[in-house]
């Protein structure tokens, strides 16, 4: 089973923790695990598009208040994926999400980091379309310009929530598979030159 670290970013009022709680609640019980659960959760899913592939998300929540923003690097370090959440009913919400995208792109050197932009509170707009202030098209356009995954969801009804994790999982899985293939190819070609008499150096076993 593959394990991936996913970091959760977004303002405190956008409901990012609720999305994860919804995800865990709607996932199969057979995978449920014991955790302290305040801010770290893990959840295993089966990928729908692949035969018999399960992956485990370790979900790292961050404090969304502006004053705790400086803690974020402790969390997104070594992350495989990031969920950047905004509220489609709040005017400056998308802009804040965009600043997270910029920060990740500047500070995390990892080309493989999968970023997913998530607009929450879809349920409010379905009740009353007037409440929407961030157009789906605008966010969608921004996401594709930046090469991000994108999804609008409702943590309240659950709409779209499991889709996010399926899509991210799928992308991470394909990336991993490709990089493993590439690595094994490199190994096959380079190995001959790298061979040397075996030593007792325990660090040399870089499998």
């Amino acid at each position: 089973m593959l394990q991936f670290k996913l970091v959760l970013l977004g303002d405190s009022s956008v409901g990012k923790s609720s999305i994860v709680h919804r995800f865990v609640k709607d996932s199969f019980d057979e995978f449920r695990e014991s955790t302290i659960g305040a801010a770290f959760l893990s959840q295993t899913i089966k990928l729908e598009k692949q035969d018999d592939v399960t992956i485990k998300f370790e979900i790292w929540d961050t404090a969304g208040q502006e004053r705790y923003k400086s803690l974020a690097p402790m969390y997104y370090r070594n992350a495989n994926a990031a969920l950047i959440v905004y509220d489609i009913t709040q005017p400056d919400s998308l802009a804040k999400a965009q600043s997270w995208v910029d920060e990740l792109k500047n500070k995390v050197g990892d080309q493989d980091l999968v970023i997913c932009l998530v607009g929450n509170k879809l349920d409010l707009c379905e009740e009353d379309p007037q409440k929407r202030v961030v157009d789906t098209e605008d966010a969608q356009r921004y996401a594709s310009e930046q090469g991000l995954l994108f999804q609008e969801v409702s943590a309240k009804t659950g709409a779209g929530v499991t889709d996010i994790f399926q899509t991210i999982g799928e992308k991470l899985y394909v990336q991993k598979k490709n990089s493993q293939q590439a690595a094994s190819q490199t190994r096959n070609t380079v190995n001959v030159e790298l061979q040397r008499p075996s030593t007792n150096d325990s660090t040399s076993c870089c499998s």
């Binding site: 923790s17 994860v20 995978f31 695990e33 399960t54 370790e58 929540d61 208040q65 803690l71 325990s202």
Partner: protein, 434 residues
Amino acid sequence: MKAIRGKHSENDSAKCESLGSMNSCSPSSAGKDEEEVFYDFQLFISQMKDQRADPIVRYTRSFLHSFVTKKNFWTAEEQVKLVNDFKLFIYDKFLEFEPFKSLDRSKLHNAQEGMEKLLMGKLYNKCFSPLLANDYENLTDDHRSDLVHDANLMDKILEFRFIKPINLEIPATISPKVEKFIQLSGKELNRINSYKAPRDKMVCILNACKVIYGFLKHSKLENEGADVFIPMLIYTIMKANVRSLVSNVIYIERFRFPEYLRGESGYYLSSLHGAINFILHMGEDSLFIPDKSEYNNQYEQNSVQVAEERDRIEIKEVNLEVPKLRSKSPSPSEYILKPLDGATNTVISKFAELFSPTATSQDDTDNREHQSAFIDDETAAAIAHQMEEDDHVRTIKDLQAMFPEMGCEIIQDVCAAKRYRIGACVDALLTLSS
């Protein structure tokens, strides 16, 4: 798919095992894995006593000997490399020699944990920065910087010790009860200085986090995630005043086997580190201040008080002619005198000769050592039992202070039912008291 959840499953193991035997307060009913993870240091010790483990014992002794004698002041980076390389080497050797070779996965993991504990127990005086403070002039930069950060954190905590939950945006709905629970989580965190092994220190951090989580769950705030958890953790640090907290955190990061620092342990250790950084940079701007003039008054008042207290301490120290590095950093003897690791420590010290880093290894003495250097199993078990009892009494006392309205018997019953796991006990008592 059941196998995925099994504790022996290849893939799950890293995370489950990293938690050792102490995970308990789960919001879900299904997750029992981590609770069942096997951890028994005495078993490891008895395995090391096995004649067939001789090569492992020799490797270990020789490593400890070189570590201590080859150089007086390794940089922390060198230490980390040495210890980690040796762990990889010896964990590999476990697969070659009995009695380790034939162990199942969980017992093998236990042996790895045991080895880490043994090594770090022996090298603690060389690796835990506060214990090197006496040699400040000779210290390498990284150990020095740990000590400086410890002192800086203490300064900041003093400077801002007057702050209230609201200044950290802890929801007003829970603030009346915050102080009480912060005391308990702080107590758990404070125990970090009673242990030498990175794993044991980590357990203290997780226990502190569990108390916070138990409280948030009871306050129906557990779904708020890090938004409430982080401020509560920061507030705990502000109030608990844990000695050498930065050094402790960095020590765990350096010497805990990386594989065991993933998942939940990794998350809560990073959170603690992040919370510490927040306090190190704390200023007016990082706080929520509803009433500026009141805040300014409090700040001024506190600064005067802190200055007075410092003067008093310094006068005392001058009178006692205590050689001091910084008034805030504790002397190493404070650590050495502390009972370090309960049963384990007793057991380790009883067979200290065998691993005495300065002792030269002589083949002809091996047999004798095997017979005499170890205390017998019965004594070890008795000591361990007594330590455990003491620990239980302490837990009950803490909980009684926290829940004075609950009867003594109820608390005892809950403790027994929850096997004295502090997080689970708090959780259960909160439910009962509501």
